[in-house]
Each structure stands twice: as structure tokens, then as C-alpha cells.
């Protein structure tokens, strides 16, 4: 089992993902955005950061990196892809996931630990029962998820909403629980096939108890388990 972590110019969480994955006992390697060979990797992570400075729009330039054509092929092959924060934004710009991420409603960058509720979804990259509440940090300026009404209906009907922001007891506050204004409190979604998963929170920041907690581990262990199952 080997995770591949893509480095775009301006990515800045790639080493955190590698650390997290290694900490959990799995192998990982870096993939330069100009590379086009993904053989040797069982899962791809698009990490957080500010690819191309987030200029024009978050993810707008990065989606044209040479590696992205291969990422699309990887997705079409049904293999696991996870985009974290800026990685989610890139997946959205590349149309591997529907919708877009706008500026946080408060117009402030937000770095804080929030509660997330795992939803009943077709994405297998989350190794907890639906309803589980996880504590995971967010760290973004543009995490305000939006899509048109039709898309939202489709996401719901097809169980593509993987994670929602919630209160610490798993409930939703009357005005919504998203700290960034995200539509329907959406924190993470997957594609129709369930193998491409994008989320704004940073699970890689909470796998090592010394630096924050362990609630993020389930995101990576789920993928590892799946890959092991497919292999056997």
C-alpha cells in the first residue's frame, strides 16, 4: 500500500500528509505536479496549501498541471483519490467533483478545530459508522461550498455528501453549523462513483496524539483497508 502525495507549486501540507500516513504505518511518496507516472501508487492525495498562490481562483491554475490528466485517469479507474482543502478546491476546478468553494462568509481565514458528522454516503474512505462525530481542524479562507439546487439534490439522492459540519453532539445548529457558510453544512463530498473524495478539514493534522489528536486516522486507514482488500 503506497499513498502518492502530489506537490503543486504552492502546496504546503504535503509533508504533513506523508507524516500522517507514515505515522499510521503506511508507505507514501511525493509526486511532482509535472510528473505523469502514477504507477506504483495505490491512492492519490491532493494536499492542502495555496497552489499557485490561489491566484485567479483557488485551484484554477493547478488543475492544468500535467499530473492532473493522470489523476483524472486514476479516478476513472475507480482508484482512491482524496483532496484535502486546497486539494478539494483543485478537484472541484478540475470538475472531478461538482460545485465550487467560495470565500468564507465572515471574510476571514479560519484555523480552528471543528466538529464533523460522518454521513451515510457511498464513499468508503471514512472508516466510521454514519453519525460519528469527529474533531478535525479546518484551515482555509475559501471553504464555503456551493452548488446549484439541482446538483445538491443529486448529491443527496446519490449519498455523495460524506461529511457535514455539526455541533459537538452531532446536531445541527438552527442557522447551520458551517463556520464558513457552506451550503447545507457540507464539509466533504464524493463523486458519483464514490472514489474521489474532497473535504475542507485537515485529517492529516490529527493522527498523531502529540500534535492534536487521532480523529483523522480513520480517513487514511479506510483507504489502506480498501486497497488491501482489493489486492487480496
Amino acid at each position: 500500500m503506497r499513498f502518492g502525495v502530489v506537490i503543486f507549486p504552492g502546496s504546503n501540507c504535503e509533508q504533513d500528509v506523508i507524516h500522517a500516513v507514515n505515522h499510521l504505518g503506511h508507505e507514501a511518496g511525493y509526486i511532482w505536479h509535472g510528473d505523469t507516472d502514477l504507477s506504483g501508487f495505490d491512492a492519490i492525495v491532493l494536499p492542502g496549501g495555496f497552489a499557485y498562490g490561489d491566484y485567479i481562483r483557488c485551484g484554477a491554475v493547478a488543475r492544468f498541471s500535467p499530473v492532473m490528466a493522470e489523476v483524472v485517469r486514476f479516478a476513472e479507474a475507480g482508484k482512491p483519490i482524496i483532496g484535502i482543502c486546497n486539494g478539494f478546491q483543485i478537484l472541484a476546478e478540475a470538475h472531478l467533483l461538482p460545485g465550487a468553494l467560495l470565500r468564507n462568509v465572515g471574510l476571514k481565514f479560519l484555523c480552528k478545530t471543528v466538529s464533523l458528522r460522518a454521513e451515510e454516503s457511498i464513499c468508503d474512505w471514512l472508516d466510521v459508522p454514519a453519525g460519528t462525530v469527529l474533531r478535525v481542524p479546518i484551515n482555509h479562507n475559501e471553504g464555503n461550498y456551493i452548488c446549484d439546487a439541482e446538483t445538491l439534490e443529486r448529491l443527496k439522492a446519490n449519498s455523495q455528501i460524506v461529511l457535514r459540519y455539526c455541533e459537538s453532539d452531532g446536531s445541527t445548529a438552527p442557522g447551520g453549523s458551517a463556520p464558513n457558510g457552506a451550503l447545507d453544512d457540507i464539509a466533504g463530498i464524493c463523486n458519483e462513483r464514490g472514489n474521489v473524495f474532497g473535504l475542507m478539514p485537515h485529517p492529516e493534522r490529527v493522527v498523531d496524539p502529540l500534535s492534536g489528536g487521532t480523529d483523522g486516522a480513520v480517513f487514511f486507514t479506510a483507504i489502506a483497508k480498501h486497497v488491501a482488500e482489493v489486492a487480496s
Binding site: 484554477a60 492544468f64 464555503n144 456551493i146
Partner: protein
Amino acid sequence: MARFEIYVTYKKGIFDPPGATAERALQNLGYSEVAQVKIGKYIQLEVADGTSAARIREMCDKLLANPVIEDYRIETVGEA
């Protein structure tokens, strides 16, 4: 050199946080006559002479605007 100007705005129905905030801020500052503020992008493009508007549209579709959330309008300004 030819010059084009591109105006990128949010699609109808898409909430625009900076616009909404500016609207509130102006009203708080006493500009009660303000009804709505929308903030988009104003892109000035300098390209080689003879570049067609179709080429510019391509650049917008690909990179300068996101068709999922944004509309754009192109204006030819003339020589630079």
C-alpha cells in the same frame, strides 16, 4: 498590441460574500441609499494584434472564469 477587458461576475443566485459584506459596511457607514453591492473581477488583457475574440473567450472558459459559478463579458478596447 490589442487590449481586451473582461468582467467576471457571480452567476445569478450565487451568494457573493465580499459583496454582501461591503453592502452592509456601506450601510453602517451611513450610506443608506445603497441597495446592493456585487464584487467581481476586472481583468485587463494585453495580447498580440489580431487575437480573435474567440481566443479570449477560450481563455475565459478555461482559466479566467469558472463557468460553474461565474459569468463573464468581454470588451474590446482597441490598441494598447
